[in-house]
Amino acid sequence: MTMFLQSAFYVAAVIAIISTAMAITRTVAVHALLYLVVSLLAIGVVFYAMGAPLLAALEVIIYAGAIVVLFLFVVMMLNLGGEARQSERQWLSGKSWVGPIILSAILLAEVIYLIVRAQPAGGIGAMVGPREVGLALYGPYLIGVELASMLLLGAVVGASHLGRSAPGRTGAGT
């Protein structure tokens, strides 16, 4: 692992943590989604620095490309206005965020303590290219690929069933 990739890991990790923290505290959904895109791109850089170039590309294409665009379409369809921002600010104010943050911080401290105490040996950065991943994916993990395809098929059917407007009730909403 070169010096450049090493520093890229640290910089991208810090950017990912900051932008994720910004994403979960925004009151406007579009702002949160834009911070989420930054976070996902930074995680893509982290993957590249870890020696997983295929996943870096997939992170950008599928997560930042497809999934966030799906969120953006939904935000556009909902057409949330100023009162949504007001109610969001009202929900976030007050003491409602203290408990979750304390609980998550305690859990995170425990996880970090356990990881540091276990002292996992070795470093990351061994390059594993798309060739090895593809050979393993369509070799020992073939059943997983089939199950993932069935999961995605079920998701498509479920989304189209839930998303269509119910007959007889059209015009009631939207």
């Binding site: 692992m1 890991f9 990790a13 990912a16 943590i17 994720t20 994403a23 979960i24 959904a29 949160a32 989604l33 996902l40 982290v46 993957f47 870890m50 020696g51 997983a52 996943l55 997560y63 999934i67 799906l70 969120f71 939904v74 909902l78 949504a84 929900w91 976030l92 965020w97 408990g99 979750p100 998550s104 911080a105 859990l107 995170l108 996880v111 990881i115 540091v116 996992p120 040996a121 070795g122 470093g123 990351i124 950065g125 061994a126 594993v128 991943v133 393993a136 994916l137 993990y141 997983g144 993932a148 999961l151 995605l152 998701a155 498509v156 989304a159 189209s160 998303g163 407007s165 909403g173």
Partner: protein, 102 residues
């Protein structure tokens, strides 16, 4: 040798997961809850890839591919449910979801 220790990759995954968990617990907007779930899945994926990279094996990356497929399926169904909920209730407040019938 100058390498990033494995512990740092695992800790990054843990931090992302904890941030997603905090967001999941403190938001009431269903859209932000779905965003937080995406962040949590990403954190788990970072830990998988870091552990796979430490051994130089592709298994960690394959686990992330499966996480990717699960995230895509989850977000499509979740957003369809969210749209339907918004059509019925004209709000995204998760507290109003306790009286959902059909």
């Amino acid at each position: 040798m100058t390498e990033v220790p494995l512990a740092y990759g695992l800790i990054l995954g843990g931090i992302l997961f904890a941030l997603g968990l905090a967001g999941l617990l403190m938001r009431r907007n269903l859209l932000f809850i779905l965003i937080s779930i995406e962040i949590m899945l990403n954190g788990a994926g970072v830990a998988f890839v870091a552990a796979g990279s430490r051994w130089g094996q592709p298994d960690g990356q394959i686990m992330f591919l499966f996480i990717l497929a699960a995230a895509a399926a989850e977000v499509s169904v979740g957003l369809a449910l969210l749209l339907r909920f918004y059509r019925q209730r004209h709000t995204l407040d998760a507290n109003r979801a306790n009286e959902m019938r059909g």
